[in-house]
């Protein structure tokens, strides 16, 4: 009985794995990259939502953390491209190296998040946005001027490792993380900070500490997304991680509803597929983004979902309750 929580903890992935594996087989190769982009955008949107939606801190530095993750993982897979772990067949050895690269990407991005977050999270609102925006630009210009990182041309010739199984599981991990956070004591502390920082502090929430933690978690997943992207297009250039990329993610979560995981996921899917369908009008991409935002802010300022979640629906709750009761017995 003691082992049940552990099994339950990984249950989403046990179920998710065959689903994503099947998806990998079914999706035609022309749409493969679009599908990968959808999942990557889910990772980005949901993780940014932890900071901007849950905690109410306005960060514009997501692309910067993506870059940190992307370059870290690229360096690792490039360095280990010829290495084969003797006891494993080539395929599994490669996957293991990629898993390692993903973990490293998350770790370095998290460290970057910590370094940026600690001083800047004492600031509020616009100031935090400016600092994080500045951070993203700093990262980009460091890369553009660093020889080992390939300067403006970036790193090319990365192995193609990102498939729908990897991105699917990563997106699932992000959603599961956000959902578990939202329903926990820690998540409620984040919501409290969003609602009223003074009151949260007075009720025993270490507001600075929690903001930094949320920021670090969010940065780690942004790094993960960066690593996934670069191994999908086998390329890693500074131009992939401009300020515009950060704005795109902000648009996703504002559209979906700040604080709503469901909203982030749905807007990531709809917008990514929609933009792909409108590929002929690529030059209007940013115009359409801006238009969409203006229309939404005028008609539904809280975003499509507000702070609501799919699993908060009354019907689903009613369905869930008998099951939970059975479990208790």
């Amino acid at each position: 009985m003691r082992a049940w929580p552990v099994v339950k903890s990984f249950l989403p992935f046990v179920i998710g794995f065959p689903v994503f594996w099947a998806l990998e087989q079914v999706v035609p190769s022309a749409w493969n990259l679009v599908a990968v982009t959808v999942f990557v955008n889910i990772v980005l949107a949901v993780s940014l939502n932890v900071v901007n939606g849950f905690t109410g801190q306005f960060s514009l530095g997501h692309a910067g953390f993506m870059a940190v993750g992307a370059y870290t993982s690229a360096k690792i897979t490039l360095a280990l491209s010829d290495v084969q772990l003797g006891f494993l067949p080539v395929f599994w050895s490669d996957q293991l190296v990629f898993a390692l690269a993903l973990l490293a990407a998350m770790t370095t991005a998290a460290v970057a998040g910590l370094l940026v977050g600690m001083p800047s999270l004492r600031l509020r609102g616009d100031y935090l946005a400016i600092v994080t925006l500045g951070f993203g630009e700093i990262i980009r210009s460091i890369i553009e001027n660093s020889k080992p990182l390939g300067q403006a041309t970036g790193l090319s010739g990365l192995p193609h490792r990102t498939n729908l199984v990897w991105v699917g599981l990563c997106a699932l991990a992000t959603v599961v993380m956000a959902r578990r956070l939202a329903t926990s004591s820690q998540g409620r502390a984040l919501f409290a900070i969003r609602e009223d920082e003074v009151a949260a502090e007075a009720m025993g929430v270490d507001t600075t500490g929690y903001k930094v933690r949320a920021f670090v978690i969010s940065a780690a997943y942004a790094g993960l997304a960066g690593a996934l992207v670069s191994h999908a297009i086998m390329l890693c250039t500074p131009r992939m991680f401009t300020f515009v990329r950060s704005i795109e993610v902000v648009v996703l979560i504002v559209l979906g509803g700040l604080g709503s995981i469901t909203g982030s996921v749905i807007s990531a899917v709809v917008l990514t597929v929609g933009l792909e369908a409108l590929r002929e009008f690529q030059s209007f991409r940013m115009v359409s983004y801006a238009l969409l935002l203006i229309v939404l802010m005028l008609t539904r300022p809280q975003g499509l979902f507000g702070t609501h979640e799919l699993w908060d629906l009354k019907i689903l709750k009613r369905l869930g309750r008998p099951a939970a009761a059975k479990e208790a017995k």
Binding site: R2, S184, Q186, R188, A199, E201, A202, M203, G204, V205
Partner: protein
């Protein structure tokens, strides 16, 4: 003998040239109900802010359970057992009544981020404990039926009570209530004061109340402390305060005197 839950020694608060509070001294024993009164701008809320760590005192010491807490952050002081409510309600508006209280239980929760992410057994136990605790405090404040309502949708009086429930859930030894009855009608005020008394009796905690309604605060508290322009002008039992000429002049004003058919204090002239 164990130390008093709250001891404030000669605390002075300066903002530039302004002395908002000077030489404020207050000792509270467990289970004591103390009222704090004074005209607008007398420094009552400043005293609260100095005690709860919103401001670090310019001079003097604040001791919680015998331990000096000057300069600690509000959440650290909260963890040591001082909780407060706010003059202008500061609930977490978009959260349900239950979640408002659950946030306050958070300080006494030992499960961390990792427990939450992996949904460990420890996490589940803590969450169950927090839920039970939060529901208990909601019930104590008569808000059990409002459990799932967003706090911003609650009527005013219930918002005030929810704030108290939230403060109680942090598990304090000292509860500071900043004008809990502001904006209530007389019947609601009387009910609230009875509730505050019953909280004190039930949990045995010291309660410090700022209140403007004299009748009310004199009826409910055992001891009063009167501030004016940051200076403590009187301390003592309600009966004594009522007769204190300084207090009458500074706070109650001549209207009160006329109402009570009392003599003007010696030398005090009606304005």
């Amino acid at each position: 003998m164990s130390a008093n839950p709250l001891e404030v020694k000669n605390v002075t608060m300066r903002f530039g040239g302004l002395k908002a509070l000077s030489e404020f001294t207050l000792t509270m024993a467990a289970g004591e109900l103390v009222g704090m009164i004074g005209p607008n701008g007398a420094g009552k809320t400043t005293a609260f802010n100095a005690i709860t760590g919103v401001y670090a005192p310019s001079e003097g010491d604040v001791l919680v359970a015998g331990e000096r807490v000057n300069g600690l952050k509000p959440h650290q002081i909260c963890a040591k057992g001082v909780a407060r409510t706010f003059q202008n309600i500061r609930l977490f508006k978009q959260l349900s009544a239950l979640d408002n209280v659950r946030v306050a239980c958070h300080a006494r929760c030992s499960a961390g981020f990792v427990d939450a992410l992996y949904q460990t057994a420890h996490h589940a136990e803590e969450e169950a404990r927090i839920l039970a605790r939060a529901e208990e405090y909601l019930a104590v404040m008569g808000l059990g039926h409002r459990r799932d309502e967003l706090s911003r949708n609650l009527p005013y009086g219930e918002q005030r009570r929810l704030e108290i429930a939230r403060a109680l859930a942090t598990g304090p030894n000292v509860l500071c209530l900043d004008e809990p009855a502001a904006g209530m009608n007389t019947a609601e005020k009387v009910e609230l004061m009875q509730l505050i008394r019953s909280i004190r009796d039930r949990f045995g905690i010291a309660i410090l109340v700022i209140e403007h309604d004299m009748k009310l605060v004199m009826g409910v508290s055992e001891r009063l402390i009167v501030l004016d322009h940051g200076v403590t002008i009187a301390k003592g039992k309600p009966e004594e305060i009522r007769k204190d000429p300084k207090v009458i002049e500074a706070y109650l004003g001549d209207a009160y005197l006329e109402e009570k058919h009392m003599a003007l204090p010696a030398g005090g002239e009606a304005k």
